[in-house]
Amino acid sequence: MKIAVCISHVPDTATRIKIGSDRKSIDSTGVTYILNPYDEFAIEEALKTKDKLGSDTVVYAISVGGEANKETIRKALAMGVDEGVLLKDDSKRDSFGIAHALSEEIKSLGCEIVFFGKQSVDFDNSITGQLTAEYLGFNCIPVVVDFKLDGNKVIAEREIEGGREVVETEIPVVITAQKGLNEPRYASLKGIMAAKKKSITEKPAAAYSQLTETLEMNLPPSKQPGRILGTDSSAVPELVKLLREEAKVI
């Protein structure tokens, strides 16, 4: 069995965003990039699945982007992923372009289970997994907090508003991982050393002409700090009055 984990390279969540000179993307000067936090759950689940299926299972980490993404692929290798693939593209692809490139590679590798993080914490679309599944004709279960594989059958629990859904389907399948699915392992020193020796396959990302067009990026309107009404419960009546009469929200 071959398993793919699709990972992305994103600004650390502590980053203060500045708009770049093109007014269409962020200024990446001085920004620290990390492995997308949700992808750690995806990697962990892929490795756990490999443990269950046996050692002839191969786990590939695939990322679309520039040279810098190699650092993120190395992190996946250090956690225990077998092989890394970088689909090179320095342009700013939309989710469709990324999913298209990933699906071409997954097809040629012959992977039957594909894990994603449920969203990348840069563009927050949460759609790349579903798109990849659709391009491949695979089944798809997004935002998964519990994953079970029984032969060809897949039973997963996904988080939805106000509860969970239990979904049944079969492989080939795309799963997108939500926090709570597992506890991602830390890369061991041995893993980090081994990762340095593993090679990362590089190839150009499959061409795609995109249908979304970015017009501009802006910072949200800045909010003026409001009023401090007091320092103890004696300010409560005034607060309630303001919420009722000024804000009209209660």
């Binding site: 469709f96 927050d124 939805i160 249908l211 970015t214 802006n218 401090i228």
Partner: protein
């Protein structure tokens, strides 16, 4: 020839999701501005209250019906919407950006050889084109974009667009019986979280952070949420500490929310948290540290002890509600 705006109504267990009224209102007003026809579509078995959508301008609703479609099935629902969009010459499709809409929109987009923009907080028409604005980096920036595909698909963030009653007519409901839906992936069970309102859908959120000092004190948050009919939110710190479930986490690795009122209790306001809730219409901060970053975005603040203020606030609201 594409000529129609379709809004997709979402139901779960036969009840209509609130965001559907917003999706219908958005669809109706876009159709008017673009001089297109409008129609609403719903998939399911028995569904309550569909004709009420007439009040929001949906004169016609197509109900794609089969008992096996009572439960959500991503494969069946995306096939059915994709096919219906083709048959009815849809040029614009609007869904709510819930787990339902966010799953279906991209899949329908691929089926229709088109594209989608998800989680929109504004959709405007400029020179005949729909311009979408959506938050990125959990709300630290906003991006404006448009689609160059023939069919344009958008999902709207719940609670942001207004559902407007514009008519006293009922909808005319056309039922289409569906045979052999594609149930390759299907929901076999739904586990409802007991009596809980989800932060992503709530109009009011009461959220607690480290300043609550322990999971046992969240009953103060719960009491206030109860009197307000609010959902409970949590900061990342208290979720990571295991005090609260991840489904309540607000912020960059949790949910990004835009309620009318957000009450932050004992939350200092890390940048990841602020990004996830700063687009709330009104923000109240209760925190004993008057220099906490949360006060920089709060409309109203009380720089005091949550254990003193929360019970008083709950009592005061009870008073005005009774």
């Amino acid at each position: 020839m594409t000529n129609k705006v379709l809004s997709i109504i979402e139901q779960r267990e036969g009840s209509i999701k609130k965001v559907s009224y917003e999706a219908v209102s958005v669809g109706v007003s876009l159709a008017k501005e673009l001089n297109l026809e409008f129609e609403a579509v719903v998939i399911g078995s028995e569904i309550e209250g569909l004709s009420n959508f007439g009040n929001y301008g949906a004169a016609k609703i197509t109900h794609l019906k089969n008992t096996e479609l009572h439960n959500f099935s991503s494969s069946a629902y995306s096939d059915l919407i994709g096919n219906y969009a083709k048959e009815s010459n849809a040029s614009v499709i609007i869904l709510g950006n819930t787990s339902f809409g966010n799953e279906l929109a991209p899949r329908i987009a691929v089926k229709l050889n088109s594209a989608c923009i998800v989680d929109c907080v504004s959709l405007t028409v400029e020179s005949g084109e729909i311009i979408a604005t959506r938050p990125v980096y959990a709300g630290k920036a906003l991006i404006k974009s448009k689609l160059n595909s023939d069919i344009k698909i958008f999902t709207i963030r719940p609670n942001v667009f207004k559902a407007e009653k514009i008519s006293d007519q009922n909808s005319e409901i056309k039922v289409e019986e569906i045979t052999n839906p594609n149930l390759k992936a299907k929901v076999v069970a739904y586990k409802k979280a007991e009596g809980k309102l989800d932060v992503a859908e709530a109009n009011i959120i009461v959220a607690g952070g480290r300043g609550m000092k322990g999971p046992e004190h969240f009953n103060l948050i719960e009491s206030l949420a109860n009197v307000l009919g609010a959902a409970i939110g949590a900061s990342r710190a208290v979720v990571d500490a295991g005090w609260r479930p991840h489904s309540e986490q607000v912020g960059q690795t949790g949910k990004t929310v835009s309620p009318s009122l957000y009450i932050a209790c004992g939350i200092s306001g890390a940048i990841q948290h602020l990004a996830g809730m700063s687009s709330s219409k009104y923000i109240v901060a209760i925190n004993k540290d008057k220099d906490a970053p949360i006060f920089s975005i709060a409309d109203y603040g009380i720089a005091g002890d949550v254990f003193d203020i929360l019970p008083a606030l709950t009592e005061e609201i009870k008073k005005i509600k009774s």
